[in-house]
């Protein structure tokens, strides 16, 4: 029962991930990426990690992908970013990288031994269990990561606003600065 669901979800995830990199239209790529994320969220639920699954959908599928879509729609790229711009050397390099990744994955799977999923604790992925781990055992890395993110946000704002604040918004020509 569960293995059937797993196979279906995994196949959809793989197929849509393949579609992400083969579609010509960037909008279609984004939509397939959303489908991939939703499938991965289903896999998380099957592993008992409900909180991670919800976060996967809220943060990646719901927020970041909408932002991608937003930017792509403003750029108005209409499917002319085709294969013809890509040199054969780059395609060859891509295949080489994929081959290397496959090699590493096979080597890792061979050493992994049994493919059985160990008996999972059903309480492992709940919100309270997750919160316990995040705010007690890994409190310091968590706080450091949040400071890092804050720094990144401030950096982006500073880079956008190269001009002094006083000049912004006083552009009498009506040009967007």
């Amino acid at each position: 029962m569960e293995i059937i669901l797993f196979i279906i979800t995994a196949l959809i995830a793989l197929a849509s991930a393949l579609m992400v990199i083969t579609r010509k239209s960037p909008i279609a790529s984004v939509l397939f990426l959303v489908l991939t994320f939703v499938c991965i969220a289903v896999l998380y639920v099957m592993l008992g990690a409900q909180f991670i699954a919800a976060m996967q959908i809220i943060v990646y599928a719901g927020a970041i992908m909408v932002l991608f879509l937003f930017v792509l729609m403003l750029l108005n790229l209409r499917g002319n970013q085709g294969w013809e711009n890509i040199s054969p050397a780059r395609i060859g390099l891509g295949f080489a990288a994929a081959g290397l990744l496959l090699l590493v994955a096979v080597a890792w799977l061979k050493t992994a031994g049994s493919m059985e999923v160990a008996g999972l604790d059903p309480e492992m992925g709940t919100v309270s269990a997750f919160g316990d781990v995040l705010f007690q055992r890994f409190l310091l890395p968590f706080e450091i990561a949040s400071v890092l993110l804050l720094g990144a946000i401030i950096g982006v704002v500073a880079m956008i606003k190269r001009k002094p604040l006083a000049e912004l918004g006083e552009d009498k020509e009506g040009k967007v600065s």
Binding site: I27, Q50, M55, A61, G62, A63, M73, V127
Partner: protein, 361 residues
């Protein structure tokens, strides 16, 4: 395989779909009738079956038949696939979220407890955020897939509005989550039982008044209804579904009505004590002046179901009242309200709630 759980879930699914869809169908009529009442008109009262009118209650059926039989036109330059996908993406997530909203109290059947929601999952409210957040794809893709400049601009308006107000919506509910200490919505309602001073029910509205006040505008903005209906505004600057006709346009409209029910149900569960009736315990009423009125358990359960639906109906009515009362916000006012007033207030609410919770511990 536990047949009891499977059958109970099936029954609950059918009941929820029947209730939600039926109520949404009825709302199309209620909204028109309410506008008529407020504008001193009679409103939709002509639809009849064999001369039977019942103040126009058959109007939704007439509307549905009209929607279905209209020409379903796809503009020749539109992206056919996205144009078809968009109404589905707008409608499906709104229906999904009812999985975790309890529409009634837990019942004891054959020695087992059956909760009022379809799935009793640990991440209840997060599930709502997750699928509520996906609804934005419907409006964005409708705008882009139609290949129409006005629709595209409206789609971008819709996405920026929904992203902006989603933040405030989430933060206003986090305060409530902190107080109840759970994400499961049945437990949230149970957490609101009891009274202060013996008479004031401990509902979320009284524990988190600011959060309730912030939640409602943010939720109406997510729902894209007046006064936040800039992405749609059918009559003036064209919405993201200009290029839709027939049943597909109907799906966008219907999704909006389902969303009204969803917002009303969520507000009821989080802030209005769900199915709880003031002073009603499991064995009957305990009045604050000392009186008692014992009731059998099945009457208590019936009262609780009735209370849930009365509260939901009141919230729906309130939202329709707002829709026909207020004018629309301008775009800059909309953004200013969301980012400069609602968001800082929601954060302030979080800080105050956190401090009070730590002090009380």
């Amino acid at each position: 395989m536990d047949w009891f759980i499977i059958i109970a879930s099936m029954v609950k699914m059918l009941a929820v779909i029947a209730i939600v869809m039926g109520l949404a169908t009825l709302l199309t009529w209620v909204e028109r009738k309410q506008s008529a009442v407020m504008q001193d008109r009679l409103g939709a009262n002509r639809a009849d079956i064999f001369g039977l009118r019942i103040i126009g209650l058959f109007q939704p059926f007439a509307d549905a038949i009209k929607m279905i039989t209209k020409e379903d036109f796809v503009p020749p330059f539109a992206n056919r696939f996205l144009h078809t996908l968009a109404p589905i993406l707008a409608f499906a997530p709104v229906l999904f979220v009812f999985t975790v909203i309890p529409l009634g109290p837990p019942l004891e059947i054959a020695g087992r407890t059956v909760t009022g929601q379809i799935a009793n999952i640990n991440i209840g409210l997060l599930f709502i955020f997750a699928f509520g957040g996906l609804a934005v794809f419907g409006s964005v893709l409708a705008g882009w897939g139609s290949n129409n400049k006005y629709a595209l601009i409206a789609g971008i308006r819709a996405s920026s509005q929904m992203i902006s107000y989603e933040v405030c919506l989430g933060l206003s509910l986090v305060g409530a989550i902190m107080i109840y200490g759970t994400l499961d919505m049945t437990e949230m309602v149970i957490g609101q039982s009891g009274h202060w001073f013996g008479w004031l029910p401990r509902w979320g509205l009284f524990m988190q008044p600011l959060a309730a006040l912030l939640f409602l505008p943010a939720a109406i903005a997510e729902n894209k209804r007046i006064p936040f209906d800039l992405p749609e505004c059918e009559s003036e600057i064209l919405g993201y579904f200009v290029e839709y006709s027939g049943l597909r346009a109907g799906m966008f409209m219907f999704a909006e009505f389902v969303e009204i029910i969803f917002v009303a149900a969520l507000f009821t569960v989080v802030f209005l004590g769900g199915w709880l009736v003031p002073w009603l315990a499991w064995d009957g009423f305990h009045f604050p002046w000392g009186g008692m009125w014992y009731l059998p358990i099945w009457i208590v359960k019936m009262l609780e179901f009735a209370a849930m639906f009365i509260k939901i109906a009141f919230m729906i009515y309130f939202m329709i009242l707002i829709r026909w009362t207020l004018p629309r916000f301008r775009y800059d006012q909309l953004m200013r309200l969301g980012w400069k007033y609602l968001l800082p207030l929601a954060m302030l609410n979080l800080v105050v709630t956190g401090v009070v919770l730590v002090l009380l511990r």
